[in-house]
Amino acid sequence: MALFVAGLSHKNAPVALREQLAVEDDKLRELLGDIQRDGVLPEVVVLSTCNRVEVYGVADAPAEARALAFRHLCRYRGLDFSAVESVLYTHLDAEAVRHAFRVAASLDSMMIGEPQILGQVKDAFALAQACETVGPQLHTLFSQAFGVAKRVRTETEIARHAVSVSFAAVELAKKIFAGLARRAVLLVGAGKMSELAAKHLVEQGAFPVYVTNRTWARAQDLARALSGTAVRWEDMETALAGVDIVVTSTGAPEPVVKTAAVARVMHGRRGRPLFFIDIAVPRDVEPGVDGLQDVYRYDIDDLKQVVDANLRERAREAQRAETLVEREVGKYLTRQGDVEVIPTIVSLRARLEEIRLGEVTRTLSRLPDATPETRAAIDALSTAMINKILHAPISKLRESSRAGASRSWREAVHELFGLGRRS
């Protein structure tokens, strides 16, 4: 039995193909049933997201099993298997384990570190469990994969830094202010982007929210939507004096927040920092405010630069995550390896013990006068011999399984000792 994963992902297949293969849950249920009925795949999990369609399985003949699973899939979506076959990748054994771990840990994602994939893998696994297509091998594989994903999330910063402009702005605010709870926010202009940024800030505890706009009605509308307070356009400077974070996104052709006004405002703030998030193009805040102390101004390009830096930081962390995954794959194989040869070892021991007991009984029946000491000595002698004989083959089996090549050794042992049909 070999573990394998076969499929296609954003790395090798265009969205046009991926979307044609993606299957929703209730269809997936049927599909799993159909695949299992064929009897080629005793264990199977199908993962279908917008970025990947993959079959995880255990089979004697992985190539055959792969073709079978994807034929079913194609049939469901009315596709020609030959069109799909050319882009399918297949990973076997150790490679399959590595792939499963990397996918769950979001290292194979389009956006490395994105949090959704782990949930999707968990759902796919739960669905397969519900359909009873999960056996011991896939059960171990997936529970380990979830553990690895969790370690990667907690021990590396792969998912920590914002990769969207609005979240990057929130993170910047947190590097200026010690927490965003009860920080006042002023929205200048009523754009969609500024609304989004304001929502993120409010989620982090920012309060209250003021909204100002050239059109009084728009200001009132948005204020209502954000449970904030509308401020008259003429009163913007007064509002600036009292808030901590300003989000601007007007369509004005000229800056609406002037350096001179900010300088005046800063005078009365006694060092309270003021953070401008300027999402407007053309910009709403005069770049001159950068020269003022305690004023931090990030325009859309600055925010993009922060996002780029965050992506680089994520990539660095991904390197660490890869090392971690590699270690876990090694551990998994070591453990798995032993599991693979344990039935052989058990039946080998049982076989020899059976022979030993038979011979000891026969010998003792011919020695009716033997003292209890003699009987004990014969018993000990035979046991010691069995153990000595078994030592080398058992070590060899364990060793070979750790090297991932136990199959031929297992078969040889079964043949040589007449252990009957291998399970």
Binding site: K175, I176, F177, A178, G271
Partner: protein
């Protein structure tokens, strides 16, 4: 510090510093844990060394400047571990431990002179102990200021680098420098006053020229200015950080004067 125990403590601090700096570069959970362990182990060795020294002297190990610096280092490490535990400010050790290492190397390589009999009095111990606690607080004041300036610069130039990710919010750092200033200043003040009073009794003049006393007065004036500016004029952030650095420079000169120049404090 007791010579036979110099190595464990100092070597421990050096290891801890290396690990703390490594953690700053590559945030690895294990590295952080090892750094904390090394710090605690070194601190334990240091504690034993101080006790041995006290038994040997039959008095608190504060009678000479190297001994006193050693005690200050002991306090600094204790406070550093406590702040890190309480606030989760894990990068603090990367900034504090280099200072700890420099100070403890200095303390172990200088030969401690014994206290002149004329000075032996309970007041002198209090004078030294207070001055050292004040000094420990100002180490954190200095470190907070450095971290503030680094983070402030990152935010102003808008190119996030390693420090942007690792350092806490500006407000947090400004608060750290303010609190350590407010904490250290009374200790320094009372410590200096006791010194002056003692000098008057021992030598007949509170202002008898002594290099250490002179520089410590300079440091006191700088810190007093910083505290007054913060309290009355709303100083904060960069300006307060610059003052913290200048004040600490004066304190370093104070120690240097005590260690290298002839005077009543040193060898």
């Amino acid at each position: 510090m007791h010579p036979s125990l110099i190595n464990p403590a100092v070597v421990g601090y050096i290891c801890a510093m290396g690990l703390a700096l490594a953690y700053l570069v590559q945030r690895h959970e294990l590295v952080h844990r090892l750094a904390v362990l090394a710090t605690l182990a070194a601190w334990a060795a240091h504690t034993v060394a101080l006790i041995v020294r006290a038994v040997e002297l039959g008095a608190p190990p504060l009678g000479s400047l190297p001994d006193a610096i050693s005690v200050a280092v002991w306090v600094i490490v204790l406070v550093e571990v406590m702040i890190e535990q309480r606030s989760g400010l894990r990068v603090l050790s990367a900034f504090v431990l280099p200072i700890v290492v420099l100070l403890s190397l200095k303390a172990t390589t200088s030969r401690p002179a014994n206290l002149a009999p004329v000075l032996a009095s309970a007041w002198i111990w209090i004078h030294i102990a207070l001055a050292m606690v004040g000094f420990a607080a100002f180490v954190f004041n200095f470190v907070g200021a450095i971290m503030y300036l680094l983070q402030e610069r990152q935010l102003k130039i808008k190119r996030p680098g390693a420090f942007y990710y690792r350092l806490p919010a500006l407000e947090t750092l400004d608060r750290l420098t303010f609190r350590t200033l407010a904490l250290g200043f009374p200790f320094l003040t009372v410590g200096l006053l006791l010194g002056a009073i003692w000098a008057r009794t021992a030598w007949g003049s509170a202002l008898a020229f002594d290099p250490l006393a002179f520089f410590s007065l300079v440091a006191w004036i700088i810190y007093a200015g910083n505290l007054a500016g913060r309290a009355a004029a709303g100083w904060h952030g960069r300006r307060a950080a610059y003052f913290a650095i200048v004040g600490f420079a004066a304190l370093v000169l104070t120690l240097g004067a005590g260690l290298f120049l002839p005077g009543r404090h040193g060898s």
